[in-house]
Symmetry: C2
Subunit: 329 residues, 2 copies
């Protein structure tokens, strides 16, 4: 792809890369003042946006542009999964330095397009401008049948807390990357989870359609930061059993000793797994795994507003948020 001369040619490059094919629900995409979207009858529209900023959410020396493209869309789409919805299209706000309009942009758009196809989410429009650092904001538009969305506020005392997948894996991947592991074509699952997260769309939809989850959110900042958000929205508390946390499985015992896997599971960010609550009476309908993704009961919703941790010896302690917060980093 040639270097970009002006904003119009940057927009044309993006349009070219994504093709002019317009879905039934997207009669008008990139290139007009705004995009048009035809909502489905009997559905509500889900709206979410996420920052992806150089220096804050990715590091220019560490993260390949292909991963930046994939991840900026995947993490915003994870919010749609957490509502039990289906992604439909997205808007891309892209601010780039002049140096990034050639090879970098090309690889970035490659990763973005792969994610868009994988997630079934078409590019609808956006805004581009020049900036010293690379800055991205992605808005994803999804849909959910009216009345079927799963909010953070629906957990009731006695409901059981579940998580999908294993916790702390993405943080492990980030550590590997920081230690110098080459990100290109790595088959390492931790590295892949950090660089190319997969929002749990099918699981979120299944839980919503079958009315199994009373509350749900995606784990972006880490369990210790995100779980209190479900509790706060539901005006309830939680008791988490340390023993049940699905820890990352490291290859050798030596690796496991060097790393506190429990701390990683509690505080590690960016797993983009789902945290959800299920009424006790429906717990039997939650399988051990859903389409290859492990589902684990990690505790229960309590009537008191505190979030507590039950350790192996039966002792309880307060769980303080120690996940990722941009205002503390």
């Amino acid at each position: 792809m040639a270097a970009i001369r002006n904003e119009d040619s940057l927009i044309r490059s993006i349009e070219l890369r994504f093709g002019a094919k317009r879905g039934r629900q997207l009669p008008l995409g990139v290139g007009d003042d705004a995009a048009l979207f035809s909502p489905s009858r009997g559905h509500q529209t889900i709206l979410t946006c996420d920052w992806f900023l150089e220096g804050t959410h990715f590091l220019p020396d560490l993260h390949p542009p292909d991963s930046v493209g994939w991840k900026c869309l995947a993490r915003a789409t994870s919010d749609i999964a957490a509502m039990g919805g289906t992604p439909k299209c997205f808007l891309l706000s892209l601010a780039l330095p002049d140096t990034h309009t050639g090879k970098w942009l090309n690889e970035f758009l490659g990763g973005l397009r792969r994610a868009a196809r994988r997630l079934g989410c078409d590019l609808a429009g956006g805004d581009t401008t020049k900036q010293k650092d690379t800055q991205i904001s992605v808005t994803v538009i999804g849909e959910v049948r009216t009345g079927q969305s799963v909010l953070r506020s629906g957990a009731r005392p006695g409901d059981l807390f579940y998580v999908s997948g294993r916790l702390g894996e993405a943080e492990l991947g980030l550590r590997m990357l920081r230690r110098g592991r080459k990100p290109t074509r790595s088959r390492d699952p931790f590295l892949r989870k950090h660089l190319y997260p997969e929002p749990r769309l099918a699981l979120g939809r299944w839980l919503a359609e079958n009315k199994l989850a009373t509350a749900m959110m995606d784990l972006s900042d880490g369990l210790s930061s995100d779980l209190p958000r479900v509790c706060s929205a539901s005006r309830a508390g939680a008791l988490v059993e340390v023993e049940n946390l699905p820890l990352a499985t490291v290859r050798s015992a030596r690796d496991g000793k060097k790393i506190d896997l429990q701390q990683l599971a509690l505080h590690g960010g960016e797993d983009y797994e789902l945290l959800f609550t299920v009424p006790r009476g429906k717990a039997g309908r939650i399988p051990r795994s859903f389409r290859g993704v492990r589902l684990t009961r990690i505790g229960e919703v309590t009537p008191t507003r505190s979030v507590r941790l039950l350790d192996r010896s039966g002792r309880e302690a307060e769980l303080s948020p120690a996940g990722w917060d941009p205002f503390h980093n």
Copy 2:
């Protein structure tokens, strides 16, 4: 407002400022993974997003936070006006330095809330993070009756080009600001137009509902940059009559001599007026002004792809884009 300790308290501050009042179409706003929006039957959803970046779209020493709040929403909403639609709600992506979470944020939210009320556009959600410079991306969600939207691509040779308001006024306001004019409580119309632009929502809707406009866009970068975009989308050209351009009216003849008002009208940015085309047979239905906003015929759509300027002496010349382009600033 107290300084912000973390992301959750920043979100709560914003929510508090905007109130928990939720409209019929916005059953779930700020505070969950995503927002829910109930689309109207028989309507399409309009989606648009706009950057508003420190150093690019506003200057920290020049622009009061109140204006930053108003303008970031107003300019994104102007795209909804240009489609003939009605704004419904918006998402706010806000990245702030620590120094801006107190007084600056308070005044910013004040301007944003005034704009939200004026434009009938509720805060639905967003994302916040910390950053060295203040960076804003606003996504506005609007609606238009299916089939009634006005695109850039509908202009046909022989149609007449119109603009609303007077051109170059916002650029004049920016020049006054740069010369040291105090922005606070100024009643100067040029300064107001630069700091607190008013998207032409009623006009856009009226043109769309009455099927008077064949193409439409809002003037953000300047006529010489934006008009070729309508031509390009419509696969047509334009002949603009210099004599008919609605120039800014300056108070004294001396002021007028110092400033080339014609150049301002052609290339000045950020007027957020509407540029639209009307079939010749419907020109009689376009009034001289609409709700106090002047409407002016400035030229016509031509079959050749060139954009030309007809001067007072009858000479024609190519009009080259010389408005605002972030990749040339």
